[in-house]
Each structure stands twice: as C-alpha cells, then as structure tokens.
C-alpha cells in the first residue's frame, strides 16, 4: 500500500542470507518494524495508508511521525520540501551525529 515502498523484492522475502526472521515472535516482528521505520524515516509522506491497511488497527504511522521528528531535530531535515536536497538516509555520512541512537 505504501507509496514509498518500492523495492522489487522486500528484504523480508530474502532468505539467503535471512535478514529478518519469518517467525512472528518478538524478535522477528521487531526486526521487521525497525527496518521499516528506518527505511521510511524522513521519507514517509503521512498518507496514512499503513494505518488503514493494518488488519489489527495498529497505528503504524505513529512510528513514522516519530522518525520524522527525529530527522528534524537531529538533521534539520523535513521530507518533501525540496526536489534538490538529497534524501536523509541516502546521504548518510560517517561524521553524522549519532546522538539519537540508544
């Protein structure tokens, strides 16, 4: 549903090596959600489709909004403001602040 998800093959479908466990235990679910949060951080356009699609009514967009807040606070980055600015995750630099990581 997500207009920002465009990978031909999702990382969850890759089995060799397996990055995200297919078991829906805490670790598997957590790994999936953390990957999704990072991939959408400062990219999510706030369309709300993920909330609408979730069969269990989990307000997934809250995670994306939180990530947008972090992007603004730590990198003064707001998605969708300019076509010229490189994307946040795409312009990763080793010298970037890592304060937001636990």
């Amino acid at each position: 549903m997500c207009p920002l998800c465009y990978c031909q093959r999702c990382i969850t479908d890759k089995a060799i090596p397996r990055w995200i466990e297919s078991s829906s235990h805490q670790r598997g679910n957590f790994a999936w959600n953390i990957v999704r949060a990072f991939h959408l951080s400062a990219r999510c356009t706030g369309c709300g489709e993920c909330d609408r699609a979730c069969p269990m009514d989990i307000p997934l967009s809250l995670i994306n909004r939180r990530m947008a807040m972090e992007a603004k606070k730590s990198f003064s980055y707001v998605s969708g403001r300019s076509l010229e600015t490189p994307t946040l995750v795409g312009s990763f630099n080793e010298k970037d602040s890592d304060e937001l990581f636990m």
């Binding site: 479908d13 466990e21 297919s22 078991s23 829906s24 069969p55």
Partner: protein, 336 residues
C-alpha cells in the same frame, strides 16, 4: 439434548472458579479472544461481530519451536519439546468459530498425526454462544452452518433475556465440565430457547457450495482469476485471520553455529515465496494462480480430501482485506 437455564451471575461465578483454578479462560474482545483476568471483562454479547482473529493460535500458534538442536564437529543432537496440555476454556465462541477446530483436525491427523495440535485440542472446552447479528461479510449459512449452529461446541448458550441463558450440553466433554457446577443449573424448557433461535435473522444464502465445487473443477483456467489477481496484494492477511487456514513453514533459527531451534511458523498461499522451489522455479508465480489456490483449496480440494469446506463463513478475511476483496462475492461469482 440436555437443556438447562443459568443466570448470568451464576455463569460468572463458574468463570471465577475456572480462573481461580489457574485454567485459561478465553473470551472474544474486539481484536482477539483474550485470556480473562477478571470476570468483569466478560461481555457475552451475542450481537458482537467476530473478533478480528479467532482462537486458532491457541491450538496452532503463530510461531513455535518444535525442537532444539546442538551441533558439534561431528555430531548433531536433537532435543524434543514437551507440549503444554493446559486446560483452555473458550467462553462465548461464535458459531462461525466453534466448528473451526473440527475442520482443521482432519489436516492435522492426515498423513502425520500432529501431537502439538492434538494435545492442545484435547484440553479445549468450547462454550459457544448463539449469534444474533450479521454484517454484509457474513455467510455461515452458505457453508452449512448458521448463527444458531451448535457444531463444534461442547456447551451452547442461548440468551433468553438480559440475565438468563439457556445452556445446552452438547458433548460428553461438556457434560463432564459442567457437572461440578450443577448447583447453578436450573431445569430448562426447550420451547423457550427454540423461540429465541427461530427468531434469529439469518444471513442470506449467497451461493450453493455444490455448484461452486463443480464450477471450480471445470474452470481452472477461467479469466476470472486474472481480475482478482490484479487486485490482490499478496499480503496473506486473509490466511492469518482465517480460523481454518493451517499452512505452516518449518525454518531453523540458529542462535550460534553450535545451537538453535526449529520453528513452525504460520504461512499462507498468497505469499509469492510460498511455492518457490530451491531451483528458482515457482509453479504459482503470479497472484492470480495464488488466489485461485485459495478458493480451490477451500471449496474443492478440502472437500475432496476430507468432505468438508475449509471455510466457516465468518467473513474475517473480507473485513480485513486492505483492498476490499470479498470472498463471499468472489465465490458467489464462481458460476458461468
């Protein structure tokens, strides 16, 4: 049939006793059947729609280890798992849920007898509750069930008025379960509860399952599948919320080189990887073939193998589908 009357207060006293004994008591909420901690959480509302998920995961968990392994240079050691056979009492199960376990039982005892499933099932007591309300997705009446069906219940409840239920004892298991509580039971009169059940509004019969069975046999290559395939996202939500879908995948999770565990995880035929062979070939490479599998498995293959339809008509898959694919509508269109 043995029919009794019980007041809501007395029923809750029984529930209190069950929880006090340390058994698990499940009852439907909005999202799921949840373990009751306090009897004030019990609703027993016959007009509620089915919870978003069934209690399938209590007999067939979403993800569970089936064995542990240890690996050394020239040896592999397998460590078996003891299945927990805890008593689980399900109170207020919908008639479109009560028969789910008996439908799945065939599969789990077909070519291999699944001890995990069987032991858990043995410890289930299912107390069904008549259903008094349906929505546009319900079609239990099209698959041989109904909102007043006792099939699969050990005990069946019918609300007589605000404070009283007719309690029908259906199975030996149900009889054994309720016996210690006979002080709470008053003698019932069937004519009373019949009046209630006869007045329940039934969802309209949407299709004739025998005609669907025939059509499916002759229309494997129908262009109808392509239309649905183009819509479907391949998310398998429909399989995960379904009370009778039972596909699973076996995967090994290594903790380290020397140890790990073998997991049995829910899977679904709508996923692209479901039939992907190690060679790279995929016999169900496009979504239309996968959706065709879903309908055929439920309304033809399972009937061929086990004589039952693999669907209770609960409508969950349709309510939750992100692109509004309605299985009732699709199956109703399985005709020329």
């Amino acid at each position: 049939m043995d029919e009794k009357i019980i007041s809501k207060d007395d029923l809750l006293k029984i529930c209190q006793d069950i929880i006090g004994k340390g058994h698990t008591l499940l009852t439907p909420g909005m999202n799921e059947y949840f373990p009751v901690k306090d009897v004030s959480q019990i609703n027993l509302d016959a007009s509620a729609l089915p919870a978003k998920t069934s209690y399938k995961s209590y007999v067939f968990p979403r993800s569970e280890p089936v064995l542990y392994y240890k690996r050394s240079k020239d040896d592999v050691q397998l460590i078996d798992i003891n299945v927990d056979g805890k008593n689980i009492i399900i109170l207020g199960a919908k008639p479109c849920d009560t028969n789910s376990i008996s439908i799945m039982r065939h599969l789990f005892n077909w070519d291999y007898s699944d001890e995990f499933f069987n032991l858990r099932e043995k410890h289930f007591i299912i107390i069904g509750l008549m259903c008094s309300h349906y929505d546009e997705y319900c079609f239990c009446t099209s698959v041989g069930s109904s909102p007043v069906s006792e099939k699969g219940s050990d005990i069946f409840l019918i609300p007589l008025d605000e404070n009283n239920f007719a309690l029908r004892i259906i199975t030996e298991k149900g009889k054994e379960f309720i016996e210690p509580y006979s002080e709470y039971l008053k003698t019932g009169d069937e004519s009373h509860s019949k009046q209630v059940t006869e007045n329940v509004k039934l969802p309209e019969v949407a299709f004739d399952s025998k005609e669907v069975y025939e059509w499916l046999g002759n229309n494997f290559e129908s262009p109808k599948w392509e239309g649905i395939g183009n819509l479907c996202l391949s998310c398998a939500q429909c399989a995960f919320v379904c009370p009778v879908c039972h596909c699973f995948d076996i995967v090994d999770e290594d903790y380290s080189y020397s140890e790990g565990r073998r997991m049995k995880n829910w899977d679904g035929c709508q996923f692209g990887n479901f039939t992907l062979h190690a060679s790279g070939h995929n016999p169900r490479d496009i979504q239309s073939k996968r959706y065709r599998q879903r309908v055929n498995h439920k309304f033809r293959y399972y009937v061929d193998k086990f004589g039952e339809i693999l669907c209770t008509g609960c409508g969950r898959c349709s309510r939750g589908c992100p692109v509004s694919i309605d299985i009732k509508e699709i199956v109703s269109n399985c005709k020329d």
